[in-house]
Symmetry: C2
Subunit: 476 residues, 2 copies
C-alpha cells in the first residue's frame, strides 16, 4: 500500500490539524480565557479522530502554556492566549496562506537587483509598442466594454494554436487552449483543479519557490526529484511513480528556474511514457524557451504526449509586455471543462484588452525581431556576470538560455548572513533554500542577470563577490 499513509505520516498530519483546530479557536476567542475546553472523548468524537490524537494536541498546548489542567477535571483556556485583531498572525488565516519569502525579498527596493527573474524594462519595445497598441482601440472599439470569455479570446487562441502547431507540432485545437493572467495563475488554477489533500506531487529540487507554496497549501505531499545539468534520474522518477502514485509532476525542463539546466530530448520522451504508464499528470511550465543563446532547446514534453497527461503552460508576454500578464495553457480536451470551472470561479476570465493587445503584437513581424534582439542582450549580460564570477572559486553550469545563474558558494559561507549584508549594500539575490522543497539547500544562490543594466551587473557582481569574501574572511 501507499507509503504516504503509514499511520505515522497521517497521524502527524491529523495531529497538526487537531492542534491547529483548537489553537485557532482559542486565538479567535471562540473559547474564552479560563473556559473549559471540550473533553478529549467529546472532541475526538466530534472531529472523528483517535482520542490519542486529541490528547497529544492538548498536551502540546499545555506545554506551550496555551491551555492548563485543573485538578484532573479537564483542560481550560490559559489567559493571554487570545489575540487582539491588531496582532493577528497565521491562525487568523487558512493554512493556505504561507509567508512567501520570495515576495518578501522582492519587496525590498535595491540598486543591484539580482533577485528578479524578469526582463529589464529598457530591453522592451516601450515607446514603439505604446504607439503600436493604440491601433487596438481602432481595431476593437468596444474592447474596453466587453468581457472576455472565461476560456479566453477566440482570436488569440486561434493564433496561439497555429503557432504551437507550426513551432512544436502540437496536436491541438483552439478549444484545447485556455488563457490565464500569467503563468502564476495557470499553475495555481491547475493545482487547485488536480490536487487533493494527501496527493503525492513530484516536484523538481530545486524549483520555483511559489510552486512549493501552492502545492503545500493544498495539502499535497511533495516528493522532490533532483534536477541535474543532464536532467533527472529516470529510474528514480519511475520508482517514485510506482511507490507514491503521484498525482502530478510539476516541471520546468527548459532553462530551468533556478538552475538554468535543460532536460535532453530523449529524457523528455521517456518521461512522458512514464507519466502515461503511471497515470501521473505532467505540468510543464515553459516560460524561458524563447530565451536560448546558441541553438533552440529540445521540443516541449507536450509534443510527445499521446494520452493527454501533459499540461503545457507557456507565457510569452513577459518578453514583450510583462504588464499584460498573458499566458496560455494547453490541455487535453477532457480537462478543459474542469479548468473552465476553476477559472470562472477565480476571476471569470482574464481582461480582454490585454489579450487583444498581445494578439496584435504576437501576430506581427516585430515580435520575432524583438525576441532575437532580446536573446543577444541576455547572452551579453550573462557573459558579463560570468566574467566577474570567474574571479572566484564559486561553481555554476553556464546555461544555454534563460535568465539565471545557479551558483555554489563555499560551504563555510552563511547565506542568511550574505543576504542580510547584501541588502544593506542594496544588492538582492535569491538564496537557494527558498527554491528547495526540503529547505535544506545551503550555499547555493540564484543570480538573475536579466533585470539590470550591463554596467550595474558588473558593479553589483563585483560588490557581491567582495562582500562574500569579507564574510568568508578570505579573499578568493
Amino acid at each position: 500500500m501507499d507509503v504516504r499513509f503509514s499511520s505515522r505520516a497521517s497521524t502527524q498530519t491529523l495531529f497538526a490539524q487537531v492542534y491547529e483546530y483548537i489553537w485557532t479557536r482559542i486565538q479567535r476567542g471562540e473559547w474564552k480565557e479560563h473556559e473549559k475546553l471540550p473533553s478529549v472523548r467529546l472532541l475526538a468524537a466530534e472531529l472523528n479522530v483517535h482520542r490519542l490524537t486529541v490528547f497529544k494536541a492538548y498536551q502540546l498546548l499545555k506545554e506551550e502554556k496555551k491551555v492548563y489542567v485543573k485538578d484532573k477535571s479537564g483542560y481550560y483556556v490559559h489567559p493571554g492566549g487570545a489575540m487582539p485583531l491588531d496582532n493577528l498572525d497565521s491562525p487568523i488565516v487558512s493554512s493556505y496562506v504561507q509567508k512567501s519569502h520570495l515576495s518578501e525579498i522582492h519587496k525590498v527596493p535595491v540598486t543591484y537587483q539580482f533577485s528578479y527573474a524578469l526582463i529589464d524594462p529598457n530591453l522592451l519595445p516601450n515607446r514603439f509598442f505604446s504607439e503600436y497598441v493604440k491601433e487596438i482601440f481602432d481595431l476593437y472599439p468596444k474592447v474596453l466594454s466587453s468581457y472576455s470569455t472565461v476560456q479566453g479570446d477566440e482570436e488569440l487562441r486561434e493564433a496561439l494554436c497555429r503557432y504551437f502547431m507550426d513551432m512544436h507540432r502540437f496536436h491541438l485545437s483552439p478549444e484545447d487552449i485556455m488563457i490565464t493572467s500569467g503563468s502564476q495563475q495557470a499553475l495555481d488554477l491547475l493545482a487547485r483543479m488536480l490536487v487533493q489533500p494527501r496527493d503525492a506531487v513530484l516536484i523538481e529540487r530545486p524549483t520555483y519557490s511559489a510552486a512549493i507554496d501552492i502545492f503545500r497549501q493544498l495539502g499535497a505531499q511533495l516528493i522532490p526529484v533532483e534536477i541535474h545539468p543532464n536532467g533527472y534520474d529516470l529510474d528514480q522518477v519511475e520508482a517514485y511513480m510506482k511507490r507514491y502514485k503521484p498525482r502530478l509532476f510539476y516541471l520546468n525542463p527548459t532553462y530551468h528556474n533556478p538552475t538554468g539546466y535543460t532536460v535532453p530530448a530523449e529524457q523528455r520522451k521517456q518521461l512522458v511514457e512514464l507519466a502515461e504508464r503511471y497515470r501521473c499528470f505532467v505540468i510543464e511550465d515553459d516560460p524561458f524557451r524563447d530565451m536560448y543563446f546558441e541553438s533552440e532547446p529540445p521540443p516541449p514534453l507536450f509534443s510527445y504526449s499521446v494520452e493527454g497527461y501533459v499540461v503545457y503552460i507557456r507565457s510569452f508576454s513577459k518578453y514583450v509586455a510583462p504588464g499584460l500578464r498573458i499566458a496560455a495553457v494547453c490541455l487535453h480536451p477532457s480537462l478543459v471543462s474542469h479548468f473552465f470551472t476553476v477559472k470562472s470561479l477565480a476571476d471569470n476570465g482574464s481582461p480582454l484588452l490585454n489579450q487583444k493587445i498581445f494578439l496584435h503584437y504576437f501576430s506581427s513581424s516585430r515580435m520575432q525581431q524583438h525576441i532575437e534582439k532580446l536573446r543577444t542582450a541576455l547572452n551579453v549580460r550573462k557573459t558579463i556576470m560570468e566574467e566577474e564570477l570567474s574571479a572566484t572559486a564559486w561553481r555554476w553550469n553556464s546555461p544555454a538560455g534563460g535568465l539565471n545563474l545557479w551558483v555554489k558558494l563555499p560551504e563555510s559561507l552563511s547565506m542568511e548572513a550574505l543576504l542580510a549584508k547584501s541588502i544593506e549594500q542594496s544588492i538582492s539575490f535569491v538564496p537557494g533554500s527558498i527554491c528547495d522543497p526540503l529547505k535544506e539547500t545551503k550555499s547555493w544562490l540564484r543570480l538573475s542577470y536579466s533585470y539590470i543594466s550591463e554596467k550595474q551587473l558588473r558593479e553589483g557582481t563585483k560588490l557581491l563577490i567582495s562582500m562574500a569574501s569579507e564574510l568568508a574572511g578570505t579573499v578568493e
Copy 2:
C-alpha cells in the same frame, strides 16, 4: 458546544471523503481491476477514521457495483470501474471544482439576454474612451513593460483612498487597499484566506451563486440568512453567531443580487456591532452602489466598522470599462499582509495597464457624468420591464437601484421547464434555485434589465410572459 460537529454531520463529511478517496483511486487506475483493496481495518488506520466509516464507504461502492466481495476475503475492484482519460469526470479533479450552473447558462448565446447582470456595452463610452485611453501610453510610456506591485498601483490606491474617505468617510490609508482583477477574484481570495474546512459561513439567501460555489469548495458549512425587502432578522443573525461562531458573513447589502433589496442604515450599524461582538468577519460586496435611481443608498457597513472585522469589496470598472476587470478591497491593516500572500500566489498582481487606464478615467470629470447617464438609462429599462410584467400576476419588489428584478411566478410553474423553453426561444434568465444555498427556491427567477436594448427588453419580456402563460396553461 458547536452544533456543526454533531457526529452525524462530521461522519457524513468523512464518509463522503473516504468514499471519494477510494473511488477516485479506482478510477485513476491506482487500484486495478480485480485487485484486492486494503482491508477496512487497514484503511481506517491509514486514513485515521472510524472503521465503520470505511465499511459504509465500501458498502455503497459495492451496491454501485464499483467493488465486489469475494468469499469473505475482502473487497476487490469491480471491472469497468476505471475511466479512460477521454471520459474523465469529477473524480479527476479536486472537490474544489463544481459545475457552476450560472456559467453554463451564460455559455448559451441568446437574443433576449436576461441572465447577464452586466451593463449593455452600448451604454458604455466606447469610442470616446478608446481615444481617451490612448493618452495612457504617453503618460506612462513603460506601462506595458512594468509589472504592477502585488498590492496594486500606488497612484490608483491613493485615488481610491481619497474617494472612499470623501464619499463614505472611511478611515483608511492607501496601504489598506488591495487591487484585484474584478470582485470575483477579491471574493475568491478572501475566502481562501479566511475559511478553513468546517468553518461556518453566514450567507444571504438568496445570494450570488458563485459565492456559494466558492465557500462550498473550501469545505465551509453554509448557514443561510434570509434577506427581506427590509433587511435581515437581526435576532436570527445574532442567534446564528452565538450558536455557530461563524467565520464570516458574506453579504451584498446594497441593491442586493439577485433581489435588489437594500439593508437599511440602522441595521448596518447593528450588524457591524454584532460582527465585532462575535468576532465574525463581514465581507461586504458592494458592486451596485452607484446604480441608484432616486436617492443615494445608505453608507457601506465598512464606514461603521471600528474593530476591523468588515472587509469591503468595491468594483467600479464594470460601469466604465468592464474589460479592465478592476476591483478594490479595503481591509484592516492586520489583514493586508495575509491578503498580499494569497494575491501573490494567485497571480503576482493584476496587470498594471488596466489599473492605469482605470485610474486615468476614474480621476476625470467624465466618470461622474457617465455614471449619471447610466443611472437614468437603467431606470428607464427597469421601468419598461416592470410595465410589461404588470400585465401578469407575478410579484416583485421594485428595486431602488441595481440591475435586476427578483420575480415570483405562480407555484404551479416549473422553472426548469420555463428555462428550457425560454432558451429554445432565445431567452435566458437565472432560475432562483441557482441563487439559493439550499437549492430549494422554487418559482423565483432573476431578470436583469441592464444588458439588452429597450426594444429587446420589451419584446423579450412579452415573449417570456406568453411562454409562461402557455406553460401554466392559463393566460394571466
